[in-house]
Amino acid sequence: MWVDLIVIGVKLAFGLVVLLTTVPIMVWVERRGSALIQDRLGPNRVGPLGLFQPIVDVVKLLAKEVITPAGVRPLLYILAPAIAVIVALSTFIAIPIGKDSGLELFGHAVNGFIVAPDLNIGLLYVFAIASFGVYPLLLAGWSSDNKYALLGGVRASAQAISYEIAMIIAIVGVLMSSGTLRLQQIVDAQSGVWMGFLPHWNVFSQPIGALIFMVAVFAETNRLPFDLPEADAELVAGYHTEYSSIRFAAFYMSEYLHMTVAASLVTVLFLGGWNLPWIDIPFEGWAGALLSMGVFGIKVATLLWFFVWVRWTLPRFRYDQLMALGWKVMVPLAVLNFLWVGVAMALGYM
């Protein structure tokens, strides 16, 4: 019993450290990356290559005065950024980040590189929690007593509804082909080759599903071209207009946490997790475990860079165009993917 708790404690600590470390790294990547794309230098003064810039940013944000404007609804106003971080962190516990080949820690089975290994509804859990992600935006927008914030909150809720439907339908295809809700088993189902020459990753067998999921993920994380709740040119800063200091930092942090979680999910669901293409490595022992985590990490990092790349390339959608895309294009396409998987399975291709 105690050992179980310790193992879970270690895993939690490990997950938290990994996840929270990605935030400053991503802030740095975003700032330097956007500078690279835009033919600028970016922050290059604090530390080598400006690597310590995110730390300075955090210190600056923490040192700022926490302002609660008059007219806000205090409880919701304070709760909103907290929920944002909690939601982003709690989705991560169902995501496996490496291959466990029956390893032991303190004489006890590690039971997978996942905080909650026995969760047999892993995928369901992830999306149930992730759907909470819209509440902090809505609450922040509504409780701020600011018209721009309110518009941002309303946009966030409308956007979440229109994109989650397509996203869930797209995932049903993955569920059908792998036959499980456990994310570890979904990854295992993607090893080997498909049709004789392609890696057996879902991105190849269900390209439409993967595309829809990817687009929906952009909408879920409120990144350009779907950053309408924020839309800095139109809504000043959208739902977090009235936030300052650590509360603002919490929103800022949750955006990057969401990105990391989303990239991990895409990796697990469509990019074969830690599976290498065409090479079948059993990932034995601790070395194998580290290797699998490395492969997983590289895939996530590539996706994260893709997020950054897209943000600094595309213009922003308009509210109604975004809704039209969600309902009129993505939902039908997701259904098409669903049909494709069904037919392919019936014919024995999958």
């Binding site: 956007s34 794309i37 835009q38 033919d39 600028r40 018209k147 721009y148 518009l151 350009l224 071209p225 950053d227 839309a231 800095d232 040119a233 139109e234 000043v236 600094w312 390339t313 595309l314 213009p315 922003r316 959608f317 308009r318 509210y319 109604d320 165009q321």
Partner: protein, 568 residues
């Protein structure tokens, strides 16, 4: 130009087509524009005939302004400037108005463009325009007392503004009073809003995110340019002109200098003309780069902003090497330029000619075909050619509506007639069309510079007329006469002969007009700037209705509103 000029005579004869011409005062002004002096009871009839008679065809109202002559029997003069887009003739209509009864019928029924121009004349001179739908102050605050451009207004007095209340349109408060309607809300876009890129306030009524009504308030950046000009020497005004459209300051100075030179009947030396032209075209490129870059930022495409700012910095370096300043150059002087260009001028220009196209092409490739961008701009803020003309639009915005009116082509100055360039025209009149026109104009400007740099003549850069320009320092130290010229010019300033002149140049936003009135002293009697974006922006609230909030931002960016010239 003199009256005997056959072209001008022909134009004067056109004025005979007006109803009862014998009762109107018709003469040719010193700038060759036919002046028609009409009584206020007949002004509407005259203006309407000028617009509607096919031979006259003055469809574009350029400007309405007031001039104050306290010594005259009828103290004020309302001056209308009109142009024909097809036939290239211009008319100036003057209406004398008495101080005790300062009423003139509004021209709003003929041209919508009269809207803000008449409000400005009311604000600054106290001339009432009967029948104007919304005759409120525009550049000064509602609580301002008196009319600032009247000659007897004392600029020393200070008004303490005690009320914090700013403009709340009647229709906005109506909704609040009616109550119970949760569907609509009033939203203030500005004066401090990320997309206004300056200080402009737009009040919109939102139904969800659809704008059902809008109204603008400007004047936050009013710096009394016109009032200040009346107490400065002619050359001292050039730094102020830089601050009108600060994105392309060179063009403003050149336009002003050309007007004064016309009044003095002198011409800048050919070398100065060529340099003015090259730097003006570079300024146009910068202005368009800022406009497009900012517009794209508002649409979420931040990267393009930096692509445009890179060449802009390089152009500023060229300007800096010529003038010493970057943003506000103060390089023009009446009669030429402040000093000659640096020795490596040609080399720098050729470098830029090779450097800039890459950045334009980058944005072109990234944006022009982008589906999101096209969806957001096509059909957004579309205006038909007739409407655009009625609102007094000029420049790229008018050309995006399909009217190929470019002063560089129609009334060439600085020798534009000697260069080959196209006037890009789009047809749809929407944000996308404005984007395309601006992008192509940047390329055409490069084309003009390419030809011009081969033809920069040698010689002086400022006129040797020492009534206007200082003699060179070496002569001042060695020759008695030069010393006297120097002394006279420093003490008395340039004495521009009495008269009036309307100088028009193609600014980056459209026709930049200076209506200059001199009384023969060393100061201008009245300077009225016709800022192109003033006419363009007055259509903005009307364009918003039915659009989404996000469109309002896209339209604002595509019109290129520069608060510096809007508010003066």
């Amino acid at each position: 130009m003199t009256v005997s000029d056959p072209e001008t005579t022909a134009q004067a004869q056109l004025a005979d087509l007006l109803p009862e011409p014998e009762k109107l005062g018709i003469e040719v002004g010193p700038d060759g524009i036919v002046e028609i002096t009409a009584d206020r009871s007949r002004v509407i009839e005259v203006l309407r005939t000028l617009r509607d008679r096919p031979e006259l065809d003055c469809n574009l109202l350029l400007d309405i302004c007031g001039v104050d002559y306290p010594d005259r029997d009828k103290r004020f003069e309302v001056v209308y400037h009109l142009t024909s887009l097809g036939a290239d003739h211009r008319f100036r209509v003057k209406v004398p108005v008495a101080e005790d009864d300062p009423n003139v019928p509004t021209a709003y029924g003929i041209w919508k463009a009269a809207d803000w121009f008449e409000r400005e004349a009311w604000d600054l001179f106290g001339i009432r325009f009967d029948g104007h739908p919304n005759l409120r102050r525009i550049l000064t605050h509602e609580a301002f007392q008196g009319h600032a451009l009247r000659k007897d207004y004392d600029p020393e007095q200070r008004w303490i503004l005690t009320e914090a209340e700013t403009m709340v349109p009647e229709w906005a408060t109506e909704i609040v009073e009616n109550g119970g309607d949760f569907e609509t809300q009033i939203l203030n876009l500005g004066p401090s809003h990320p997309a206004t890129h300056g200080t402009i306030r737009t009040v919109v009524r939102l139904d969800g995110e659809v704008i059902t009504r809008a109204e603008c308030e400007i004047g936050y950046l009013h710096r009394c340019f016109e009032k200040m000009s009346e107490t400065h020497g002619w050359n001292e005004i050039i730094p102020y002109t830089d601050r009108l459209n600060y994105c392309s300051s060179m063009i403003n100075g050149v336009g002003y200098a050309l007007g004064v030179e016309q009044m003095l009947d002198i011409e800048a030396p050919p070398r100065a003309q060529a340099v003015r032209l090259i730097l003006s075209e570079f300024s146009r490129i910068m202005d368009h780069a800022v406009c497009l870059g900012a517009n794209l930022v508002d649409l979420g495409a931040l990267t393009n902003f930096w692509y445009f700012f890179q060449p802009r910095e390089e152009i500023y370096s060229l300007l800096e090497s010529c003038a010493g300043g970057r943003l506000t150059v103060s390089y023009t002087r009446i009669g030429g330029l402040a000093h000659d260009v640096p020795a490596d001028f040609e080399e720098r220009v050729r470098f830029l000619l090779g450097y800039i196209p890459k950045f334009i092409d980058d944005v072109d490739k990234l944006i022009t075909g982008n589906r999101i961008f096209r969806d957001r701009t096509e059909g957004i803020g579309a205006l038909s050619a007739e409407e655009a003309v009625a609102w007094g639009w000029t420049g790229p915005c008018l050309r995006a509506c399909g009217v190929p009116y470019d002063l560089r082509r129609v009334r060439p100055y600085l020798g534009y007639e000697n260069y080959e360039f196209d006037v890009p025209v789009a047809t749809t009149g929407d944000c996308y069309a404005r984007y395309l026109v601006r992008l192509e104009e940047m390329r055409q400007s490069l084309r003009i510079i390419e030809q011009a740099i081969d033809r920069v003549p040698d010689g002086p850069v400022i006129t040797d007329n020492h009534h206007v320009a200082l003699p060179p320092k070496s002569k001042v130290y060695s020759e008695m006469e030069a010393l006297i010229w120097h002394f006279k010019l420093i003490y008395d300033g340039i004495k521009v002969p009495a008269g009036a002149c309307y100088s028009a140049t193609e600014g980056a936003n459209g026709e930049l007009g200076y209506y200059l009135v001199s009384d023969g002293t060393g100061h201008p009697y009245r300077i009225k700037v016709r800022p192109p974006c003033f006419a363009i922006f007055q259509a903005y609230p009307h364009m918003l209705e039915g659009h989404l909030l996000a469109d309002a931002i896209a339209i604002l960016g595509s019109l290129n509103i520069i608060a510096g010239e809007l508010d003066r």
